[in-house]
C-alpha cells in the first residue's frame, strides 16, 4: 500500500511529498515537531501533545497554521489513509518559506507536514521484556531543550554514538555530572528505597508527555516520586531504570555503559508502569 502524507493543505503520495528548498525548517532548523503514539487507530494523550505543540510554537513565535480542532482532524485522517492501527503520527511545523535570512520574515506562512507509519507492537513488547542498554555522554545541546524543535543534530550524534556502542539510547550528562535525559526520551530510576526518580522540568530537558502520564500513573499507584537530577553513580545503585517517550512508551533499561543496573533484568515497577500505560491509553 502506498503511503500518504499531508503537506501544506494537500494529501500527497509520501514518496513525492516535498517542501521548498528555502523552507526555514531546512535552512535554519526553524521549526517544531510532535509525535503521537497510535494504538487501536487512536492518538494517545492527544490533548497533552497539542498543549506542548502550542507551547513550542509560542516560545518560537511560529504562527499555528490551523486550529487544534482542524489539526486533530487532519492527524486522524492521515492515520486513517495510512491504515495505521498501531504506530506513530509525526507532525512538523516550521516558520515557512522565505528568502534566506536569519531573522524572521515579515510575512510568515507556516509550513506543515504530517506523516504516519505502522509499527510492530509485538516487537516492542519483546524489547520491553528484554530491556535495553544506555550509554552516557556529554550533553552538548543548546540551552532550550524544553522546546521540541527540529534542531536535533546533537541528538542525532548522541543516538548514533549509542548505537555504535551497542546501546539503544544515550543518556546525556550535564557539566555538573548529572543526567539530563535521553537523546529522544526521558530518563528514570527507581532508588533502592523505591522512589521513582526523574529529572525536574527546566530548560535542560523536554517535558515528555509520556513522562507526565507516568507521573500520574505513579500517583495512582501511590508511589513515592522525586523530580530531581541524578548521577550515573545513582543509576548503578538503583534497583531499576527505564526510559519514557511516545515511541518507547515505558521501556526498561538494564545496562548503563555496559554495567548491569539492579539485577540486570527489567524491573517490576517499569514493567508495571508499562502495563498501566497501555491500559490507561486504551480507554
Amino acid at each position: 500500500m502506498s503511503r500518504t502524507a499531508y503537506v501544506n493543505g494537500s494529501y500527497v503520495s509520501h514518496a513525492y511529498a516535498s517542501v521548498h528548498i528555502e523552507d526555514r525548517g531546512y535552512q535554519f532548523a526553524d521549526g517544531v515537531y510532535e509525535v503521537w503514539a497510535v494504538r487501536q487507530s487512536k492518538l494517545l494523550d492527544s490533548e497533552a501533545h497539542f498543549r506542548r505543540l502550542n507551547r513550542s510554537l509560542g516560545e518560537l513565535r511560529i504562527p499555528s497554521p490551523m486550529t487544534d480542532q482542524s489539526l486533530a482532524h487532519v492527524l486522524r485522517e492521515v492515520v486513517r489513509r495510512n491504515r495505521v492501527k498501531n504506530g506513530l503520527v509525526y507532525l512538523q511545523i516550521t516558520r515557512g518559506v522565505a528568502p534566506r535570512d536569519h531573522a524572521f520574515p515579515n510575512e510568515i506562512i507556516s509550513s506543515i507536514v504530517i506523516t504516519a507509519k505502522s509499527t510492530n507492537a509485538e516487537l516492542a513488547e519483546k524489547a520491553a521484556k528484554a530491556g535495553v542498554a544506555v550509554v552516557t555522554m556529554n550533553d552538548e545541546r543548546w540551552a532550550r531543550c524544553d522546546i521540541k524543535s527540529v534542531s536535533l543534530l546533537p541528538n542525532v550524534l548522541a543516538k548514533q554514538a549509542a548505537h555504535e556502542k551497542g546501546a539503544s539510547e544515550a543518556w546525556m550528562v550535564d557539566d555538573k555530572g548529572m543526567i539530563t535525559e535521553g537523546a529522544s526520551s526521558n530518563a528514570w530510576i527507581v532508588t533502592l528505597d523505591g522512589v521513582l526518580t526523574t529529572r525536574n522540568l527546566s530548560p535542560d530537558i523536554l517535558g515528555g508527555i509520556t513522562r507526565e502520564r507516568v507521573l500520574t500513573l505513579a500517583a495512582e499507584r501511590q508511589l513515592q516520586v522525586d523530580e530531581r537530577a541524578f548521577s550515573k553513580k545513582e543509576v548503578l545503585e538503583a534497583s531499576e531504570a527505564f526510559i519514557t517517550s511516545s515511541t518507547n512508551l515505558v521501556m526498561p533499561v538494564v545496562k548503563i555503559d555496559n554495567e548491569a543496573i539492579g539485577n540486570g533484568k527489567p524491573g517490576p515497577l517499569a514493567s508495571a508502569l508499562r502495563k498501566d500505560y497501555l491500559q490507561s491509553a486504551a480507554t
Copy 2:
C-alpha cells in the same frame, strides 16, 4: 529573470525547487552549509570554503556528494545561470532522505542544494560607511559551534532579538561573560593600544573564512593581533570594533547595547581592512 537552483543533480527553477519531507536536513538539522561571496562573478576565498566544508562534513561523517572540483564547477554554473556579478552562492549538504530515525541511516545518499543571488554592493558600502549596531545576549548554542551546521535555531532567535532592538547583529556571551561571536559573523575589537583582537578558535566559535583572511591582511599590515576571548567591558573601552563574514565582509560596529564604541564612528582600521579585503579578493 527567473532564478535557477541546483538540487540533487539537476538545475531547476528556484520557485519549484524542493526536497523530500524526510530529508534529514528538514527533520533533524542533519546537514552543513557554506556561503561564498561573489565579486565580479568570482567566488571569493573559494579554496578556504571548500576546506571548511570538508571539515564540517567530516566532523558529522556526512559523505561528500561529489569531488571539490565537480562542486566548484556546479557552483560557478549556478552563479552563471543566475547572472550573479556581485552576490552570494549558498550550498547545503545533508545526510539525505531516510525513514525518520535519529541514528544515521545504513545507506546514505547525501542531498545537495545550491542557490545564488545578487546583492547590492553599493548598499553594502553605504552600510559600511555608517557602521552597524550590535546587542549582547546569552550564548544559548550547542557545544560544537565550530561545525557549520544548519542547526541554526539559536542563531535565528538571537538575530531576531537583535533586529527587534534596532541592531543588525547579536554578540553572544558565554557563561564566563566573554563574547564568543555574532549570530552569523565573527566579532573583533581594536584595543586602545591598537591590538586587533578576536576570539581564539575552539568549539565555541565558527572558524570564519573572512576572519582567517583578515588575520592574513593584518599580518601584511604588520598589525599586532591577539586571538583571545574579550568582554563587553573591553568592547566599550576599545577604539573600534567590527564583524567579519562572507555576507558582511568587514563591517564596522559603532554601538553595543546602545552605547557608542570609540567615537561612535567606523574605525580607521576596520575601514582599511575592508578596503584591503575587497582589493585582495578582486585579484
